[in-house]
Structure formats: C-alpha cells, structure tokens
Symmetry: C2
Subunit: 355 residues, 2 copies
C-alpha cells in the first residue's frame, strides 16, 4: 500500500478512483464515457445538480447561498474576487498569513486599495497573526483558513461585522464551521473536494449584488449564477469527481464524522513529532494545521536519510515546500488513519536508530 501525503493534487477516496475509472469507460450504464457526454444533457445536469445539493447539505448552507463550480484554481479566485468586489473607491482588508494569502493581496492591489491588517511574514508565516483590527469601512475582509505551505490553520472565524471572504482550498469540508458566516468562500478542488481544474465557490446572494458590472462574462459571478455554472462548457470530469467525493463524505457521516478522524490523525502525528527530539516543529502550537503538518530535522544528512526511508516504505509526497524546506505531511479527508499510523511508526523507529 502506498501512503500518499501529497499536498495537492492529493489522495482521494479509493471508491472515488474506482467509480471515476468505470465512468470513463461507461458512465451510469449509458455505454458512453463521462468524457464524451454533452454538458447540456440531463446526464450531466444530474451530476451538477447533485454536487450542488451535496455542498449545500454537507456545509449546512442557508437559503441565501449560491454554489458554483468554476474553471481554474484558487489562483484564479485571487484576482476574480477583487475584480468583482473592489474598485478604486472600494477598499478591502486582507490578512497576510501565508504565501497564498500574500499572492491574493498582490492580485487585489490591481483593482483597489488594500489594507493588510496583519502579517506573519516576519517569521516565514510560521504563525497566525492575532490581535489585529479589521477596519469597518471595507468591502470585505479576506483570509486563508489553512496555509498549505506553512502548515498553519486559523481555528476560529474572526469576529467582525465586515463581510468575510475566505480561501478554504486546503481545509474545506474537513471540520465543522459556520459556513454561513462567510459572504464568499472559494476552494480549489484538488485537496478535499476532488481533482485539479475546478473551483468550488459559495457566495451570498446579497453580497453578489454588490459586485461590479461591465466585467468579462466568464469573470462575472452573477452571470455564472444566472447560467447555473454553465456559462460555457464546464470542466465536466472534474465536477464529476467532486460529486463522487462529496457522496463519499456524506456516506461516512459528513463533516462532523470526518473532523473526528482528522483530529485523531493530526493528534497522533503531532504527538509523535513532539515526543521525538530528532524532529522540530516550526509552527506555533496553537496555530498548527490539522491538514498539513510541517517539520524539519536540523541535520540535512538525517533529512536525506529520513526521506529515503519514507520512500523505501512507499510513503510519498512528504518533501516540504521549497520555501519552507524540511517535510510536510498532508492529511486531507481521504488519507486513512492507517497512513498516519504507518508514518508515525516509521518516525519512532527512525528516531530510535538515529537518536
């Protein structure tokens, strides 16, 4: 068995792979591949409708929310959000809590004034800034709920009356949250939702009414809403994989159930790492991510040996992001507890041998 700790694209549930593989040869007994069905057919409309319904159900969304599946990844949303909701007269507040958040800031500045309320860049984004004040004269406040690269996670939703926008790419549907507190949520699918090439967007209807006009059609959220995510040919297969993954999540008990498993996985991993002095945890304890655990070893030779040992035991995707170094173990929804048990056993053994 291969243990896939990739940060994204990443492991998906085994039944999703099985069913997606079948659907490429024969989708729902039609004799047609999911890749060759028209998007404006009842066949695909049923896929899209069920995916949207499952998002609403699993996230407990209220009636004011629109759910969209759009081309691209979170990087597409970095500019599309400010293009829709900012202007030279409309300011936004951003939290600079990680590499991805800082990229979102950079794109926003092309469209209007940006107030960066706090930053953790001073210590390579190894903590979540706290004690910041969100100004009230802004169109929205944007933050990243989980920083995939740095292994930090913002565990609480900021208290503010300002419309909240969150990039939830790497922890959406991994934990219970009051998703209705947000006026706009986006997430690239390739971690907890499905395959690369599609974004999930959850937007408040009334917030959408504040969007700018005269936008290119494909960048105008309201046009996507009016066309039910079918303004153009959608990424059919990527949406289908989302559907399969959402069905799987529902089948195992939804977000509450997966959160329990996720907490067990991350507790096992962090407790193991903390108990073994050979490993260093650069992230402030309170801010550690339950999705991506970052750790280093200080000694480059030891790091090489550890990497080789993991590879020899079929553990893939643990190399840290080039901007952080060391290691990163991603534990998305689909990663079984067994994989964390395996890598923690390996860690203990490795530490024993090299202490």
């Amino acid at each position: 068995m291969i243990h896939n700790f990739n940060a994204g694209p990443s492991i998906l549930p085994k039944p999703v792979f099985e069913e997606a593989s079948r659907a490429i040869q024969d989708f729902n007994g039609t004799g047609l591949s999911i890749l060759e069905i028209g998007h404006r057919t009842p066949l695909f409309e049923a896929v899209l409708d069920e995916a949207v319904s499952l998002v609403k159900e699993l996230m407990f969304l209220n009636e004011n929310k629109e759910v969209l599946f759009l081309h691209g990844g979170a990087s597409t949303q970095f500019f599309q959000v400010p293009m829709n909701f900012l202007s030279p007269d409309k300011k936004a507040a951003y939290l600079d809590g990680g590499v991805w958040g800082s990229k979102a800031v950079k794109e926003a500045k092309l469209f209007g004034p940006v107030d960066v309320v706090a930053s953790s860049k001073d210590r390579n984004y190894s903590y979540i800034p706290s004690g910041f004040t969100i100004p009230t004269d802004v169109a929205y406040f944007h933050y990243t709920t989980n920083n995939t690269i740095e292994g930090t996670q913002m565990h609480a939703i900021p208290e503010t009356s300002v419309p909240l926008i969150a990039d939830m790419s790497s922890d959406i549907l991994s934990r219970e949250m009051d998703f209705n507190r947000f006026c706009f949520i986006y997430a690239g699918a390739q971690k907890n939702i499905g395959a690369a090439g599609v974004n999930l967007v959850v937007a408040d209807k009334s917030f959408l009414e504040t969007a700018n006009s005269k936008l290119p059609s494909m960048l105008d959220y309201r046009q996507h809403v009016a066309n039910g995510s079918m303004l153009n040919t959608p990424p059919v297969f990527a949406i289908y994989v989302c559907l399969l993954t959402l069905r799987w999540l529902k089948s195992i008990g939804g977000v509450k159930a997966i959160e329990e498993i996720n907490l067990r996985k991350s507790a096992l991993l962090y407790n193991t790492l903390s108990s073994l002095p050979i490993f260093n945890l650069p992230v402030a304890e309170a801010d550690r991510s339950h999705m991506n655990a970052v750790f280093t070893m200080g000694d480059p030779e030891l790091e090489k040996m550890f990497l080789a040992r993991c590879k020899s035991e079929d553990m893939v995707g643990i190399k840290g992001h080039r901007s952080v170094g060391g290691f990163r173990v991603s534990m998305y929804n689909a990663l079984p507890l067994e994989s964390v048990e395996s890598i923690t056993a390996l860690m203990k053994d490795f530490a024993n041998k090299h202490a």
Copy 2:
C-alpha cells in the same frame, strides 16, 4: 455500438478512454491514480512535456512558438486575448462569422476599439463573409476557423500582413494548415484534443512581447510561459487526456492522415444529404464545415420521427443547437467513418419510407 455525434464534449478515441480509465486506478504502474499525483513531480512533468512536444510536432510549429495548456475553455480566451493585446489606444479587427465569434467581439469591446470587418449575422451566420478588408492599423485580426453551431468553416487563411488570431476550438488538428501563419491560436480541448476544462494556446514569442503589463498573474500569458503552464496547479487530468489523444493522432499518421478520413466522412454525409430532398442544407456549399454538418427537414413532425429513429439506433448528439434548430452531426477526428456510414444508411432508409 453507440454513435456519438455530440458537438462537444464529444467522442474521443477508444484507446484514450481505455488508458485514461486505467490511469485513474494506476498511473504508469506507480500504484497511484493520475488524480492524486503532484503536478510538480517528474511524473506529471513528463506528461506536460510530451503533450507540448506532440503539439509542436503535429502542428509543424516553428521555433518561435510557445505552447500552453491553460484552465478554462475558449470563452476564457475571448476576454483574455483582448485583455492582453488591446487597450483604448490599440484597435483590433474581428470577423463576426458565428455565435462564438460574436461573443469574442463582445468581450473585446470591454478592452479597446473593435472593428468588425464583416458579419454574416444577416442570414443567421449560415455563410462565411467574404470580400472584406482587414485594416492594417490594428493589433490583430481575430476569426473563428470553424463555427460549431452554424456548421460553417473558413477553408482558407485570410491574406493579410496583420497578426492573425484564431479560435480553432472545433477544427484544430483536423486538417492541414500553416499554423505558423498565426501569431496566436487557442482551442478549447473538448472536441479534437481532449476533455473539457483545458485550453490549448499556441502563441508567437514576439507577439507575446506586445502584451499589456500589470495584468492579474493568471491572465498574463507571459507569466504562464515563464512557468511552463504551471503558474498554479494545472488541470492535471484534462492535460493527460490531451496527451493520450495527441499520441493517438500521431499513431494514426498525424493531421494529414486524419484530414483524409475527415474529408471522406464529410463527403459521404453531405452527398447523402444533398441527394435526399427530404433534408435541407442551410449552409452555403463552399462554406460547409467538415466537422459539424447542420441540416433541417422543414416538417416538425418528420424531424421528431427522424430524431426518434436515430435514438432507437443508438445515434446520439444530433439535435441542432437551439439557435439554429434542426440537426447537427459532428464528425470530429475520433468519430469513426463507420458512424457516418450508419447514419447515412439510416437517412436513406428514412427518406425512402417518408418521401
């Protein structure tokens, strides 16, 4: 056997479905799904590199061309092209030859002045305008090589010294063309190249240098070039399906070989339709598309019966676009001659019974 005449997403070669299906369970013997491999791994880099090489080889591109695979579909390019190459001071010329071309015009007007050199809207885009003059004081001339909805195709490349931009979504790689004549080509993949959710872009290096600056990163072609189509997580699976389809095309002899088959298919279909007075061909003979054949029957009752008959013989995707009505038979590269033989046999039999 199902005969899939869908206009897009559409039929792909059978070996592509088989191999894509296998790769979702086990990609290249890695034990991992193509959906769960990291995009910054040698595994995926090899996929992307080979896909780019095959595009260059199959299109006989010269050294000045860059090949990109970008998120989205042609509709994304409708605004991204003028956003990069137009401005209030930089005019463009467009040919309004079909519904998609007119959408491209609409998006371009958001970014700069647009000179529509000719239009066939007067007769519901049932012909390709001719005798138009392309002004020389424009940044580029844009046209659609094949009009999927209306079933028209521009068989010759316009003679002009102005940089040529073409939307080739529905006939790319279906016929020999001097692709090097174009400074910029784009094509949504879901007809002749692969699955929905990715665009192929072929751009002249020197033309890219004329692009505007201060663009959002994801909309800046030059940033995509600098990052080898990996500015963000690319649509991994959609690109992989492109690779498989390009490999198939090469294996059967490339564009020259497929063009011969495509011409046989369209000749058989149009000759059959022309010989049966029960069918009407609204498109001017010289402008008929070898990819999408549009026809009507005049009598709504007969049309219903014909549609039912096709359905009963497992022929799908022949209903015409709502803006044109009647029928549309799409004959992309992957459609076997056998399917056209089957539908033409059915047409003759139907005409005999209902003449």
